[in-house]
Symmetry: C4
């Protein structure tokens, strides 16, 4: 079995994280799953984006979460990605960053309400913030439990991962996802821009609520619904 | 009839939106009208700025709002541009972006009062924020109604489009205009910079009002009045 | 008489304003005086920084304020520069910009108190904000009166231009100066950075006062006093 | 004795300060110690980063604090670096900048509490802010006393320099350190990013406290503890 194309896409998506300034240093990682092959590829841990090559990208078993291929250690966040691929069967790529505005909302323990069409074009509702992990969750299988807390929030609140392609982990930072790794990076950019705009918006009007559901419907569905009319398709 | 020059100008103006960082991804569109020919040219929907060529630019009838020429779908905001060209017969180009500070004011449902000469040099008074669209307006011909709500605000408040080349659509984002597409981009840059300065200004002094009318007159008219003395003309 | 070297320096200083992002579009101008020759050179009005050449730089009489040489109109702010060269005989270059943070303080009608050593290294005390110009001053010789209001503030408050190389004009924007045009640009950069830091500082601690005089003395004088020991001289 | 390699590393680290935008103009300096040789190398005072070469880097005696080698004056902050190398025997490089967000916290006289994992990955607790220096300390051996006040804070509060590689000097700016000069620059970048995120976080949630100790332990120790599992080692 040959994962060259998958490794190339994941390497490119990780470099894209850095190019679009979602992460300084090594503060972000992207992965992409090949569900037929039962594997996902992910950034190696602590490697500079500029120096990374497709050969450095580890391949992980979707069944066991163990490394199948590659000389380097996978990202320390690998178990979070692994759990999310299992919890959300419709997603194809995942991105984790510490982009500054989204991270500030996560640190403030606040989800980002939908304040306008920029948000509604990508996220069909508020970008949620998880509950804090417990001491036992943190001292146990921390990265795996991070994935579980994200899944718990989506299940308990009846949220659909495909319609809401991002989350803030409390006291930590954002995860976004999409059809593939590059689309997960795009959703990470949208989330950071939305987080920045929302911070400025609340500074100008602290008592603001979410937009009306019919505006949210209009904008989300004109891009993503059955009758979408944005773009060239 | 040959629209090559118009398409080139509109293609260049759309790339300029991206170059000056008024839009990430595909979050902005520029158009320009040729009133003699009865058409306007506009960005194709969802196309990357880097990949766009003049051949991709659709030509729209000013009379019907329908596409006359071009293989690609025009911007999903085409009906807004169309209505504004009809409502404001003195403008030649229109730009729509989601630039972050102007969008934050729109999301906060606040117009931007004139707080200094930077604003007064381009906008002869506060940059207005429209009323929210109703459910019926959003669920009906949404993009056309966006144009109508902008026109309504200008008519009801006795505002002149040429003197006030921009507006914030509530819960949405800014539109700017000018003598041609490139000048509409310039006005989009001014609006974003003014929106940023105004947010910082209110953080430093929350109780501030507008500048005096005589300062507004002086700055606007030294650049735009009959006796203007700015520049080389 | 040949002003080639002066024109080259002023052209370079104006391009520097743009390179270091103190001004977008044409929102800033630099000038430099040759007191022996009795002239100063200044940016032409409304010309793009990228297109400007030394030949475009007008030469103005220090005695009359009239243009002596050059095909282009001088900056519309020429009379302000002219007055400041006469009011402050120790300065050699002047820069005016609408840099966003300094302009926000000017729009908020607040001088910038000295909050730390970054400020104290360049400005020997608060960067002052002038009183608003009166209607008569604005409707009369506006640009000249802008210079007069700056001078008035320095005279009434016993401030020395060389020790305090910048000012905020109320509802307008900053002016900075220095030994030559390039040093005035450097002081414009310092002012913008100090203005940004001070805005963040007050957000974190709204009740803050100025630093102690002995800290201000230490930092200002280690760079500028008779016993300065910063740098290579 | 030949310090060429040390000078090259210190020259590169100083240029890195500028490349990653921790300092404009000449507002930052880096040094690195060679404890076996009993010397440290540091930036020359007031020299532009672009023009600096390894030959310009002065060599200072760790025993006396005096210059041993080099034509140029060392940084005016040399005595602070000297004292810190003696006070903290486990550190190998030091960086001082006036990066804007970290400086704003220093000017606000506030340490930066640990608000999330971005912070915890590098700093094992709040980044402290020193007490203000007294008039006598400022008018005496100011730069040496700056080092002493930092040491005093760490000693009085039982803090370990290796676990907390940075500090804010009240009314002044940050110092960071690390195993060598380049790692001290990296810690300066982390501190600036953390300072920016924390300012935004408090704007969104003013009453926030620090994260739980077990989250801090988890993140700091997974990168730096005996059982660290981040990266490729």
């Amino acid at each position: 079995m040959d994962y060259d194309a998958l490794k190339e896409r994941v390497c490119a998506a990780n470099k894209e994280i850095n190019r679009v300034q979602l992460a300084i240093l090594t503060w972000g990682n992207a992965s992409e799953v090949d569900r037929e092959a039962g594997v996902f590829a992910i950034k190696p841990s602590g490697v500079d984006y500029d120096e990374m090559t497709p050969d450095d990208i580890p391949i992980i078993s979707l069944e066991t979460g163990e490394k199948l291929e590659g000389a380097m250690n996978p990202s320390s966040d690998t178990a979070t990605h692994w759990h999310l691929y299992k919890a959300f069967p419709d997603i194809g790529g995942i991105v984790h960053t510490h982009s500054p505005y989204a991270t500030a909302w996560a640190q403030a323990h606040r989800g980002i309400p939908c304040l306008g069409t920029t948000h509604a074009d990508t996220f069909y509702g508020a970008v949620p913030c998880t509950r804090p992990l417990t001491q036992a969750e943190i001292e146990g299988e921390y990265e795996l439990n991070t994935g579980k807390v994200i899944e718990e929030h989506f299940v308990n609140n009846g949220l659909k991962a495909v319609e809401l392609p991002g989350v803030l982990v409390s006291s930590h930072a954002p995860f976004t996802w999409g059809a593939d790794a590059l689309k997960a990076v795009v959703n990470g950019r949208v989330l950071e821009e939305v987080a920045k705009m929302a911070a400025t918006t609340f500074a100008l009007n602290p008592n603001l609520g979410s937009v009306d559901q019919f505006l949210l419907d209009k904008h989300y569905l004109r891009k993503h619904g059955a009758n979408a009319y944005y773009g060239q398709k």
